[in-house]
Symmetry: C2
Subunit: 314 residues, 2 copies
Amino acid sequence: MSVFTPVPESVLSSWLKNYAIGRLVELKGISAGVQNSNFFVTTTLGRYVLTLFEGIGRAELPYYLHLMAHLARHGLPVPAPIANRDNEYLGTVEGKPAVLVIRLQGASVMEPDEGHCARAGAMLAGLHLAGQSYGRRQPNPRGPQWREQAASQVREHLPADERALLDEEMRFQATIETDTLPAGAIHADLFRDNVLWDGEHIGGVIDFYFAGHDALLFDVAVTVNDWCTRPGGELDPARTAALLTAYHAERAFSDAERVAWPAMLRAAALRFWLSRAVDFHLPREGEMVMVKNPDEYRDILRQRIAYSPDLPAV
Amino acid sequence: MSVFTPVPESVLSSWLKNYAIGRLVELKGISAGVQNSNFFVTTTLGRYVLTLFEGIGRAELPYYLHLMAHLARHGLPVPAPIANRDNEYLGTVEGKPAVLVIRLQGASVMEPDEGHCARAGAMLAGLHLAGQSYGRRQPNPRGPQWREQAASQVREHLPADERALLDEEMRFQATIETDTLPAGAIHADLFRDNVLWDGEHIGGVIDFYFAGHDALLFDVAVTVNDWCTRPGGELDPARTAALLTAYHAERAFSDAERVAWPAMLRAAALRFWLSRAVDFHLPREGEMVMVKNPDEYRDILRQRIAYSPDLPAV
């Protein structure tokens, strides 16, 4: 459940007068997402999603909103923010920073086949290519600095074997140089539930609120770890090959990326193990968020340390 | 039939490398529209429409493209132009100015009921409200100057009774002051075939290439004359009331507009009578355009001279 701030219809009706999208027909809370309050908004002129930001600072929001606008402008199916009559994206509802975005059609596919993985890989490459001309920059909010902090927070809560795994992986990642890798705006959370399918086409890529400037290959690793992993943490070779080959066809991997790939898969696994472990061991009070089991990503990390596939050849 | 310039798949595949929308899957000419060459373009990442401009000068195109982008950014279902990797909308294909836009879903409804007319009226008001913050300006290409020229071109081709009707209406319109009316970016061609329905919702408003800066009420008149007219040219009172009431609920008519309404209905009828008469009596060589019968709008003009309904009260 993720409506932290209820919005009365009368408040929204009045707020919509700042926009040119007609009058309110229906307002409905959305019970998904972990950070913000989300609502389906139907007006006389269209269908939208209203987001009230609960945890992200107002100063950081323009990076996300303009990134979504930029990618939509480049023809990709992302939730374009709606400008009000003063040409502004960001407003205030019930004291919270708020934005309306286009409501995209489709539903997630939680058991993707090779075809889905190939389309997801191609879409990720499209996002990266379009993002190259995006002018704003904000660091990946789950980058190395956050990683250090999260690791020190959870370390004492872990059993001995996991603590050893964490220490070893933190030491290993500290030796990895990512500055030479192609970088840009990355989604950083392109899990299966953030892709909406309209038949066999991708009708929407949602939830850009972990986006930031980082190595593109880190984004590929996050995506592969979610889309191509079998229960237990092993990679499915066919799905992995499908995703990587389709990505590579749109944006060819560089030699530096080929070298960095095993470490990136581990870094991406570590990032989600850590965030889930933080949520699990240090739950934030008053938040009605479903806590995900951190063990899944601990196992993925172990599997990636044991084995990583090669990137497609040139 | 409106593919004046064929585009080979190899040319388009290569041109698409300037974009971030994946690789070409299908290219198909569209047999509708009267001014430009249009194609459905399906790529690995989405569905788009390619337009090659055959008659509009390159200098006039930014007004239209940025208007569509502006309206889309304000949440309205118009064909947003796609930016290429250099952030440009306008390119060149086979020597012609060319643009890719988002392909909107839906189909036209040629026998609209009161519900359709109400939604069309509300949408037109939304376009006008969102257009108020559009920064560019270009005169209505079918405004008073064009009208004078078109009337003098066709006058000699008309039978005596139509010539008298034309002379009288041109004299009448010359006495009408429109500068005091609320003005802005108008679509100027919101006929039933330029609105795509997705069930009972409007999924798309297309063909902005007659847009310009003019009295908003002229746009309302163009729309009413098409959506609310019975065979023979009379207005259908129920559909007219539905469209005007829904428009008025989004943007209230002013007193000046109430006074000008009968003259605007006549001006809008005259504009389409004239353009169809020009196409009919002075066909442009080599153009494979279906010429529409000018008599329809001659009859509408006669009916509007005989009777015009009032705008909704405050």
